[in-house]
């Protein structure tokens, strides 16, 4: 079957079995290996992407349900080689260690910032509750999301 979707703003046509995981389409067919596979069963959040703006685990989404929809992966965050505000905040606060959870954390963080919620610690913790960091570096990750959210709310 052939499916048309938008990936990071670009129209893409994919020829794949309908039950192929969005994760496999991104990594194997489209070469977007920024999205990681951790557990493959919706526990760890390493494969988090945005589907029409909502954070989802790409390992649990069959490609047949992505037809006509828009996907944003970690590769879609930086513009022309310039990191976006959240990526920059991760560098500033030391929010990245080994890196396996980082793409998923960034996408969950993006969804939180886009929601416009006040960047309070409890709310951020809930927003990334589906993302496991094996280095247990949560504090710096929360700091990074709070910093980027604060900057978004107070432009300049």
């Amino acid at each position: 079957m052939s499916y048309r979707l938008q990936v990071n703003g670009e129209p893409v046509e994919v020829d794949a079995p309908g039950m192929r995981r969005l994760l496999d389409v991104l990594r194997e067919e489209l070469g977007l290996t920024g999205t990681k596979e951790g557990c493959g069963e919706g526990e760890c959040g390493a494969c988090s992407v945005l589907l029409d703006g909502a954070v989802v685990d790409a390992c649990l989404v069959p490609i047949c349900q992505v037809d006509g929809r828009a996907v944003t992966t970690v590769e879609g965050l930086a513009r022309e080689g310039v990191l976006n505000a959240l990526q920059a905040a991760f560098l500033e606060t030391g929010g990245a260690q080994c890196g396996i959870c980082t793409p998923g954390m960034l996408m969950a963080g993006e969804a939180f910032i886009a929601s416009g919620a006040a960047p309070e610690e409890d709310a951020i913790r809930e927003a990334i509750a589906g993302n496991l960091c094996r280095c247990t570096g949560y504090t710096k990750i929360i700091d990074a999301i709070a910093l980027a959210a604060e900057r978004r709310r107070v432009p300049g």
């Binding site: 039950m19 995981r21 919706g42 959040g45 909502a54 685990d57 069959p62 047949c64 509750a129």
Partner: protein, 287 residues
């Protein structure tokens, strides 16, 4: 590792087409996929032979108030339940339950209909449906029929839904003075499958302070989500005081049959179920 199994999938856009495919047999419905996608690896039982993607059946969406009923479409996601002003007004315990399921990624995809059809004994919304006298509407090319929640989960991961039927919606009767409380005990606040999940509903009998129409339902304490009929009988007509709490937990301990498994032990589950009920009753009594 990409999944070894990629069964053929059909994505009908009308209920009639969906029913026609289901009538051919061998199809397993997929909505949010949070349960089914994991089964494709074949590590948990047999993967489905064919898959029916019901996500385009827009008639299965929406939350509305219809006369004395709250009607919730099967494709309603946990995120939608959490954000719905109608749920917040009419059945906030259901939003509370939805908030305990997985985390954002699961809540964006998982559906109420999926929780119902997947029929896990640990399904977190199911005790609420049992405790509020909800009914589940299923449909096929043959007919639509309405099944009381108390008759829906009939055994371990077994429901009254036939293979050619889809869960269409849930109807919850609206009772003006009904209170509903929800409690879930898991290893952590997010991403936890419950060790014990409980919903308690009652109507307060004004002056006397006694409880009427008491319903107590639990998950993860039996092979299916259950009503605790014996405990309800103790609570019916009683006031929520210390003595009532003691009698109720004795009944509950005798009536539930939890098991030891990877998430907990029978002993812990029995202890925590009774403790949670005791605390709920005392909290209400001290209001």
């Amino acid at each position: 590792m990409p999944n070894a199994v990629e069964p053929p999938v059909a994505s009908p856009s009308s209920l009639q087409d969906a029913y026609a495919l289901l009538a051919k047999g061998g199809y397993r419905p997929i909505a949010g996929g949070t349960d089914l996608m994991v089964q494709l690896t074949g590590e948990i039982g047999e993967p489905p032979e064919r898959v029916l993607d019901i996500s385009r059946l827009d008639r299965l969406r929406g939350i509305e108030r219809n006369a004395g009923w709250l009607v919730i479409g099967a494709l309603t996601t946990y995120t939608e339940l959490r954000r719905s002003p109608l749920i917040a007004e009419l059945l906030p315990a259901l939003a509370e339950a939805a908030a305990t399921i997985g985390a954002a990624q699961i809540q964006q995809r998982g559906t109420l209909g999926g929780n119902i059809a997947n029929a896990s004994p640990a399904g977190d919304t199911l005790p609420i449906l049992l405790a509020t006298d909800a009914r589940i509407v299923v449909g096929s090319g043959r007919q639509e029929r309405t099944i009381p929640a108390t008759e829906f989960w009939i055994g371990y991961r077994t429901t009254a839904r036939a293979d050619d039927e889809l869960v269409l919606r849930v109807e919850v009767p609206l009772v003006s003075d009904r209170r509903v409380r929800f409690r879930k005990i898991g290893t952590r606040r997010a991403q936890a499958i419950s060790k014990v999940v409980m919903a308690l509903s009652w109507s307060a009998d004004g002056r006397a302070g006694a409880w009427r129409n008491v319903r107590l339902a639990l998950g993860s304490v039996a092979e299916r989500p259950i009503r605790a009929w014996e405990t309800e009988a103790i609570l019916e007509g009683a006031r929520p005081d210390e003595e009532t709490a003691e009698r109720a937990v004795a009944a509950l301990a005798a009536e539930i049959h939890p098991i030891d498994d990877v998430r907990s032990t029978a002993e812990y589950r029995r202890a925590v179920a009774t403790r949670v009920l005791h605390r709920l009753i005392r909290e209400e009594g001290s209001r």
